[in-house]
């Protein structure tokens, strides 16, 4: 088998030392895998995503991403564009006034030229059925549109892994179907947090559950 995209071993993390959230999590993600991450509220699912992209630092254990051990902030700088994290609330992700600026934010940060960025934005939006959305004002979009645009901002960086934090949350039936079709057609390896059983069955092939600080395969 090829080298894993992510390899976590013995991850410990606690916001409050009395109540550890993660107590020895082991996990490996390979290319092309689609993993459903389930677990009760407050089990640390989002925390695990944050640790994988270095927004939080593990108190013990190792995060290996794309073949290298990542410890300090600067180690994670190149992990983040390669492992696109979709936040739970699109209002957290979309901060630019217009859609085009928001989708362009990632590529411009990665040093792409203005011309390249425009092409990337156009292709990404078209791929999600959002043609003509470039100049829409982000905070005037509907909930479903916001969700798709925030997915576009992540996809615009051409990540190898997608970390999706409750992507189907608060979507109507039609938008949910559209999202499933889109995600199913993407080539990236994925980890999906959701409480929607049907959604997970249709997206993911592999399942892991986070409970009492441990990750279990089932």
């Amino acid at each position: 088998m090829s080298e894993p995209l992510f390899h976590l071993s013995g991850i410990h993390f606690a916001y409050d030392p009395e109540q550890p959230v993660l107590a020895g999590v082991h996990f490996t993600l390979h290319a092309g895998e689609r993993v459903a991450l389930t677990g009760p509220n407050g089990a640390g699912k989002t925390t695990l995503f944050y640790l994988m992209v270095g927004l939080l630092k593990a108190q013990a254990g190792w995060v290996e991403a794309f073949g290298r051990r990542r410890i300090h902030e600067k180690d994670f700088v190149d992990v983040r564009p390669r492992a696109g994290l979709l936040f739970q609330d699109p209002d957290d992700q979309l901060f630019c006034p217009t859609v085009i600026e928001d989708v362009a934010f990632g590529p411009l940060n990665l040093g792409k030229s203005m011309a390249e960025t425009r092409i990337i934005v156009r292709h990404t939006l078209a791929g999600l059925g959002l043609e003509g959305f470039e100049n829409r004002i982000t905070h005037q979009l509907s909930g479903g549109q916001r969700r798709l645009v925030s997915l576009a901002t992540v996809l615009a960086m051409n990540p190898e892994v997608l970390l999706l934090d409750e992507p189907a949350n608060a979507l109507d039936a039609e938008m949910r179907e559209r999202l499933i079709t889109i995600l199913d057609g993407l080539p990236q390896a994925m980890m999906v947090i959701s409480h929607d059983e049907d959604f997970l069955t249709r997206i993911a092939r592999r399942r892991v559950c986070l409970a009492q600080g441990r990750l279990m395969e089932y």
Binding site: L55, R80, G84, F87, D92, F95, F105, L108, I137, T153
Partner: protein, 275 residues
């Protein structure tokens, strides 16, 4: 391709998402196709002219010149096709602020007595002074509504950025525009939840404490949201520098015409003052 030009054309229209547009200009059924001429003028130019107009009007002292300035602003408001009712409402609210100052000026400024009320005499100088303030402030306010009020706040932010105003100021402005509604929603949610549990504003310690908690909670949530936004930005490679997509638009014929008109009008105002 010029994204900025197309964006300024797009953003002024209400988006079909159903949200009311923040722009002031009328979108009555018959007017949908004909856009007000002022809309097509470069937003930077409108900002600069508005600023110039305000500076000039502040310096005017002669009544005819001030009247001309107000007429000019009224003309601009007509050209921008401001909604009459909404504009009047804004002007009245604005004038309400100054009502007391204006009412007391005639009685407090010494000078030639015009009439007296209950033994307190009003001076001619005071009356003129009050009229001057009223005209001056309303002219500037109306011009701001005409030139800037018809712009989406986002467009105003871009115009400021392209005029090289401090980046921190521009970002603060744009983040405010983006998140004020999100915070407003959060406030209303909390407020409704309080009402649902029987809370009514009274004048007692329970009310003060509860309102204090409400604003405290709003503050905590805002800080948490700010942290999540920054985290999301870092996930997309943000390292403290913003890169801009906007290209500089060159002036077209309409912009030159607007500039010419503004210079002539400004010159006329100043001429009236010293005539």
């Amino acid at each position: 391709m010029n994204a900025y030009a197309s964006s300024s054309a797009m953003t002024a229209r209400p988006v079909d998402g159903g949200h009311p547009s923040t722009a002031y200009f009328s979108t009555g059924a018959g007017e949908k196709k004909r856009k007000p001429m002022l809309e097509a003028v470069d937003s930077r130019l409108r900002l600069v002219v508005c600023w110039g107009f305000a500076l000039a009007v502040i310096g005017l002292t002669q009544l005819p010149a001030l009247l001309a300035a107000l007429a000019l602003a009224g003309f601009a408001a007509m050209a921008a096709r401001l909604k009459r009712a909404a504009t009047l409402r804004h002007m009245v609210a604005f004038d309400g602020f100054m009502l007391f100052v204006l009412l007391f000026l005639p009685f407090t400024v010494p000078g030639e007595v015009v009439f007296s009320l209950n033994g307190v005499s009003a001076s001619r100088e005071g009356l003129l002074h009050a009229a001057g303030i009223l005209l001056r402030s309303n002219a500037v306010m109306l011009m701001i509504l005409a030139l800037l009020g018809s712009m989406e706040p986002v467009e105003l932010g871009h115009a400021m950025a392209r005029l090289r105003l401090p980046a921190k100021f521009v970002h603060l402005f744009l983040f405010t525009v983006r998140y004020i509604e999100v915070l407003g929603r959060e406030y209303r949610r909390l407020r409704v939840a309080m009402k649902a549990r029987g809370f009514r504003v009274r004048c007692n310690p329970h009310t003060w404490r509860s309102i204090g908690y409400l604003f405290g909670m709003l503050l905590v949530r805002s800080i948490e949201r700010a942290e999540r936004i920054l985290a999301a930005m870092r996930c997309r490679g943000f390292q403290g520098r913003f890169h801009s997509l906007t290209e500089v638009k060159t002036m077209d014929r309409r912009d030159y015409a607007f500039t010419g008109l503004s210079v002539v009008a400004g010159g006329a105002l100043i001429a009236l003052e010293y005539w």
